[in-house]
């Protein structure tokens, strides 16, 4: 039985730190040499990449944000010529402009190793049948997970758009042993199973891997209990990294970060200073092996804490806690990063130049994240023809789906309703 990547991080911390130092220095040298954005940033801060003499010195470098990525749309963050890129992965981004992540052949191989490691940590083997159920907004992750599972040698059923009951039918009939999905969708599937009377004993399911959001402990208990499976959660950024760059081991005491591919820091979102162990702060990532798309001190917007102490599993990789929130306005809806500004821009396509007044309501329905946009009814929108209004809304919904890969509901409301909610324009009422 082959269990994919044998390098599960069982190395000495000392060796790992040497490797990180080497990879960090060469990443900085390449970024400085090949990416004008980084060269300018370093020069502006009067930092020579050769002055980074330890992993600690990384803290002296400036941060990179999603805005930087969008400002350099499409290809200006690439550190290799376009001809070396074998895959171009668009991301909706979280600002006005999207951004594009590129991969060299080597980058895809590295990503495959990372996802295979995540799946192996939860004991996926070449005898497993793996079913991937993710929404279209996470298509890039779907591919990464498919490649990782195939690398292990498992039989993979890639992401397919079908109803939950069809997914369950496939799960039963194909004897799926490993399910990869989001925590909410796993819960939703469980709910649907109960509704249609599908007995979990008739399934071959053995393990669930979740990505794209935190797993509340009562959800984990319910899923593991009702389905007799082991649940392994992974952490990643749907817009820039592979899923499972942070992965749970059998101990399930936080995410081990694949520190041979990334350096992570936890910083105070306001001051940018490092946080003490166990204190919550923003997760900041630096890529170590990325050739095409190096990220140096990338502010993820995710809030977590460093879990101190060594893990009984023996891995050298440090752990971060479950993601407990986000800094700034960026929301995570069904695993997808959304900035309310993006919604505003889409709504503007209808209202023209005028800024639409709207709010976003997030809630859960059958465990699934639902995003509802409350849009103020204005003269422009109003028409005697109900059909015209309906068509307008349909068009908006489609735009949101095309941009974010997310199904939303749009409600037209009176000005007074928005006033009652007492939120700034584009405010978010998160009831999840």
């Amino acid at each position: 039985m082959k269990t994919g990547n044998d390098s599960q991080g069982h190395t000495s911390r000392d060796d790992l730190e040497q490797l990180q130092l080497e990879q960090l220095q060469s990443t900085l040298n390449r970024a400085y040499k090949n990416v004008p954005f980084y060269k300018k940033r370093f020069d502006d801060h009067e930092i020579d990449p050769g002055a980074v003499n330890s992993v600690e010195d990384l803290k002296r470098l400036p941060f990179t944000t999603r805005k930087d990525l969008a400002d350099n749309y499409p290809y200006d963050m690439f550190a290799v010529p376009l001809r070396d890129i074998v895959r171009i992965s668009p991301s909706a981004g979280t600002t006005a402009k999207p951004f594009v992540v590129g991969f060299t052949r080597g980058d895809l191989k590295a990503r495959q190793d990372i996802t295979a490691r995540f799946l192996s940590a939860g004991k996926t083997t070449d005898t497993d049948i793996v079913q991937i159920c993710l929404n279209p907004g996470l298509a890039g992750w779907g591919r990464a997970l498919k490649e990782g599972a195939e690398h292990i040698g498992a039989s993979v059923m890639p992401m397919t758009q079908m109803s939950t009951s069809k997914q369950l039918m496939a799960m039963k009939d194909y004897r799926t042993s490993v399910l990869i999905t989001t925590p909410s969708y796993a819960m939703h599937m469980l709910r649907v199973m109960e509704t249609i009377g599908l007995n979990p004993d008739t399934l071959a399911l053995r393990a669930i891997f979740t990505v794209g959001g935190p797993v509340p402990s009562d959800w984990r208990d319910r899923l593991e209990g009702a389905l007799a499976v082991s649940l392994t959660a992974g952490y990643g950024l749907s817009d820039v990294t592979a899923p499972g760059i942070g992965f749970e081991c059998g101990e399930k005491t936080g995410f081990h970060v694949s520190e041979d591919h990334f350096i992570f820091e936890i910083v105070d979102p306001q001051s940018g200073q490092p946080c003490l162990p166990e204190a919550e702060g923003e997760v900041v990532l630096t890529t170590l092996t990325g050739r095409a798309f190096p990220l140096i001190r990338f502010r993820t917007g995710d809030v977590a804490a460093l879990v101190s102490g060594t893990c009984p599993c023996g891995r050298a990789f440090s752990r971060i806690s479950e993601i407990t929130g986000s800094t700034g306005p960026v929301l995570t809806v069904a695993g997808i990063k959304v900035d309310p500004v993006q919604i505003e821009q889409i709504l503007q396509t209808l209202s023209g130049t005028a800024s639409p007044r709207f709010m976003i309501r997030l809630y859960k329905e059958d465990y699934l994240d639902v995003m509802e946009i409350w849009l103020e009814m204005t003269e422009d929108l109003f028409s005697d023809e109900v059909k015209r209004v309906e068509n307008d809304l349909k068009r908006l919904r489609r735009r949101v789906f095309q941009t974010l890969g997310l199904e939303v509901a749009i409600r037209l409301v009176e000005r007074s309703t928005l006033d009652e909610a007492d939120l700034p324009v584009g405010g978010v009422k998160d009831e999840r």
Binding site: L21, E22, S26, N53, G106
Partner: protein, 241 residues
């Protein structure tokens, strides 16, 4: 086994190494490739104590050897084969090899080690009595490596072993180096001939103007487009930049 951490070395006023970090594990054959003047030889000289780093550490078996004199470094088990096949031309092959065993007092051990070297490089056995200066370039290179092996080093540092050799001769030298690694020798190889170095090594570092710009498994680097363009002569007709 061998670890450099952020080493900065100056040649007079020239900042030749600008923060070099690398490591070699026991039994590994690791290559450092790069163009002329990139800092390859400077890196080797810094390890063997011929140059002192201004900053950074050179750790060998967990001990910082950056401040040690070259002869002390040799005694720790690091043998440096400099470029240009510096053999003693007026002495015969055996005498050259014996010199390499100058730390060994026991005749029997010397004889035994000579036999090992001749086993690795049979041609040296055939030319025992010949003056080193009359050997071919490839044979001189084998003699230089053989002489270093006489001290039973823990790590062998090789500086441009293929320099000035005809391709077919260079191939023989590289084959012997690979064989040496297969027998368990730890080797740090510095080479301009990137293809040959990547073909025989386990891992490699690419150095450019005193900085490491890439590192990884040699197999991966062989297929890396930037490396192919810069060092393997696989230029594209049009390079999109």
């Amino acid at each position: 086994m061998l670890r450099l951490k952020s080493v900065h070395t100056y040649y007079g006023n020239v900042h030749a190494l600008k923060g070099i970090s690398l490591h070699v594990r026991p039994g590994e054959l690791v290559a450092l490739i790069g163009a002329n003047g990139a800092g390859k030889t400077t890196t080797l000289k810094t390890i063997s104590g011929l140059l002192k780093p201004a900053k950074g550490t050179v750790e060998f078996l967990q001990e910082d050897i950056a401040k040690l004199a070259p002869n002390k470094v040799v005694r720790k088990g690091i043998s440096h084969v400099p470029e240009g096949r510096q053999v003693f031309g007026k002495m015969n092959v055996s005498a050259n090899l014996e010199l390499g065993g100058y730390l060994v007092k026991d005749r029997e051990t010397i004889r035994q080690r000579m036999a090992e070297v001749e086993n690795l490089f049979p041609v040296l056995g055939q030319r025992r009595e010949q003056l080193a200066g009359t050997l071919s370039g490839g044979e001189q290179q084998m003699l230089a490596i053989g002489r270093a092996l006489m001290g039973h080093p823990k790590v062998l540092l090789l500086d441009e072993p293929s320099l000035g050799l005809a391709p077919i001769v260079a191939h023989t030298v590289f084959t012997s180096i690979a064989k040496l690694r297969d027998e368990g020798m730890t080797i740090f190889l510095v080479e301009q001939n990137a293809r040959a170095a990547l073909n025989i090594s386990d891992r490699a570092y690419v150095i450019e103007t005193g900085r490491i710009i890439m590192e990884g498994a040699s197999k991966e680097l062989l297929n890396h487009n930037q490396i192919r363009r810069a060092y393997l002569g696989k230029a594209y007709k049009e390079v999109w930049e």
